[in-house]
Symmetry: C2
Subunit: 155 residues, 2 copies
């Protein structure tokens, strides 16, 4: 089995100058945990993930989302406001991961698993040349595993 058979495509990408606020909205709207970042030629230059920019279900305790409650008694309100305001406008290029590990459409599942395990990665973009054409996530692999369990009815 090959990457092109399990990858999610077409992949949703964002430009390098996309704001963190917009990237977070796209991830929430499309229910994805990470977005490949492309330059003006559409070439892959980085990846930005949910954990980079938004507080999770629980709320990252050190995130600004909890500052008003946790530190409200001594952090001046206008500072909190300025953090929110400033952070929203940052571009994804400021925080994205560079040197992205990638896959090609003809890589095997074994290659996918090895790259994920070695790099501790949760999602890997699939490229044709330097253009992202799909993405494979740990979730995709767990689904594949569930479908191929002995006795499974190919859910």
């Amino acid at each position: 089995m090959f990457v092109h058979q399990i990858m999610f495509a077409p992949v949703i990408t964002v430009d390098e100058d996309c704001s963190l606020e917009d990237a977070a909205k796209i991830m929430l709207d499309r229910n994805v945990g990470g977005l490949p970042v492309v330059d003006e030629r559409g070439d892959l230059t980085g990846i930005v993930t949910e954990s980079d920019i938004v507080a999770r279900e629980k709320g990252i305790p050190f995130s600004i989302y909890r500052f008003p409650q946790m530190f409200g008694e001594w952090m001046p309100h206008e500072h909190v406001e300025r953090i929110y305001e400033s952070a929203r406008r940052w571009a994804v290029r400021e925080i994205m991961s560079h040197n992205v590990v990638t896959l090609t459409e003809v890589d095997t599942i074994e290659t996918v698993l090895e790259k994920m395990l070695t790099g501790g990665l949760h999602r890997i973009p699939v490229v044709r040349g330097r253009k992202p054409v799909g993405i494979v996530t740990r979730r995709d692999l767990l689904r594949l595993m569930l479908e191929h369990l002995p006795g499974s009815s190919q859910k």
Copy 2:
């Protein structure tokens, strides 16, 4: 195949009053991404994960770890110091997730996969009664998959 065959055991747990700093150190030292939290009887009461408390490789941009650089020009230095100091001393009970999804040792791999996919979970504690006895992670399942690929030499 059953949970007891793939779970990591014995599981490393922390007490509810363990500090975030100590929990983060344990996760780094033992190279685990999450710790079940137990009360004074050793019963499971929550789970705390790396993303709850530490900046990741990239550094969570909204985390306090980047405040000095990002906002140094306008956030008074003593405020940054107080954030660090205060956050280090929080107890895990303040930020842990409650209502933890659990497995038993005799659950099947299918059950593990379904619970992970349904809940979007990365790790699930295994309990005997209310006592944690192991943990299963997405990484464990990817390894299992790699070992059982057709043509694999049972790495």
